[in-house]
Symmetry: none
Subunit: 218 residues, 2 copies
Amino acid sequence: MVVDDEPSIRDLLSASLRFSGFEVVTAADGNEAVEVAKRAGPDLVVLDVMLPDLDGFEVAQRIDAPVLFLTARDATEDKIAGLRVGDDYVTKPFSLEEVQARIRAVLRRTRGEGAPTSRLKVADLELDEEAREVWRAGRPVRLSPTEFKLLHYFMANAGRVLSKAQILDHVWNYDFGGDAGVVESYVSYLRRKVDDVEPRLIHTLRSVGYVLREPPSG
Amino acid sequence: MVVDDEPSIRDLLSASLRFSGFEVVTAADGNEAVEVAKRAGPDLVVLDVMLPDLDGFEVAQRIDAPVLFLTARDATEDKIAGLRVGDDYVTKPFSLEEVQARIRAVLRRTRGEGAPTSRLKVADLELDEEAREVWRAGRPVRLSPTEFKLLHYFMANAGRVLSKAQILDHVWNYDFGGDAGVVESYVSYLRRKVDDVEPRLIHTLRSVGYVLREPPSG
DNA sequence: GAACGACCTGAGGAAATCCTGAAGGCTCAA
DNA sequence: TTGAGCCTTCAGGATTTCCTCAGGTCGTTC
């Protein structure tokens, strides 16, 4: 369930989550959230802390599901101390990669050990979401947060061609004002760090985008 | 079983204990506690001394299980003298690390010798919960109470990335008002005391958190 | 093969994040 | 009352990360 009073945020999140295979219901304020939650019984709630009627933490107490809070970046961390065990939070403005990563982490903790693995693998490139570790050809690789998010997005969509606009929309914060040049820079960083051996996995499709995959055999 | 009339405390404790693998039932007052205990037969009861109906010590007498009392910090010590053998207590406000440590201690005493070991070990770093002792590379290390709780939390979650907010929620009292800067200070203290030799075990994941583990093997 | 657009990448400044020493206040015991 | 150990805050400095920019390279088209 997605709860936010701004329609643009609601739509952004629900569209992105639906695309990833989640079933999504939405609410625009605290009272509606409590009501919808009762009816729909969500597995997890993405909940803006600032709502027109109720405080986000109040809403959380009346809902029997783990919560991923959306907070302003300038909220001092002690405000976040209201989190229950199992909850988590993301600061606005967020990136979709960020939100989805946290959602998966919360669901993993909630559903216990039988949860699906958090390890992605393409050829000899491996990525562990939980441990936040990456290996290429068996060697560990250190990545910055943005590099990690970008690589994760590539690996979660291995074999699919991703335009620079798509990448910008998923990996960068939704309010990012710059142009697609940064994508080129970060693809360059990734190539140096994780794609400096054969077979090359990150391929440029000129004037289309990028794709991560094993080179076509034969 | 968790018994407290404040829902926030009940939820905090039951969620934290469930996450650690315990089965939890709850009660909101003394009479309900006696009733639920009869039905559920708990191995241990976490029991607030101040309940709306009955006194916590009265409740304890009617329950056939060891008790971990929750008391106000200013409770005079003679009140605590009412503890039966095998019981223990924690003062409010507590930290989750504190409560879980006491619970394990009580269960260890109750269940006798067949209990699981109280010794944590990561690489050449060892921690004895019962003796409250720590060794690094065979050498004993003196830690303050907070340092010990923090290290214990790290070791109990070795290999898992812990955010500063998570650390604050588990190691510090639930009413702590300060910010995450104090976590940085204590990580610094721990590094000086237990992580001043190779291999380094406490790693910073910039803008993510910390993790205690052996360096990724390449 | 020349011109054009798209892409790559090194350099560098700004900002975010982290580390750590220092200092003040607190509790507890002597 | 004093002192020691502990907890917390704070701020300067170190480090890492982010983003922009510009010159060079590569591919495509005509």
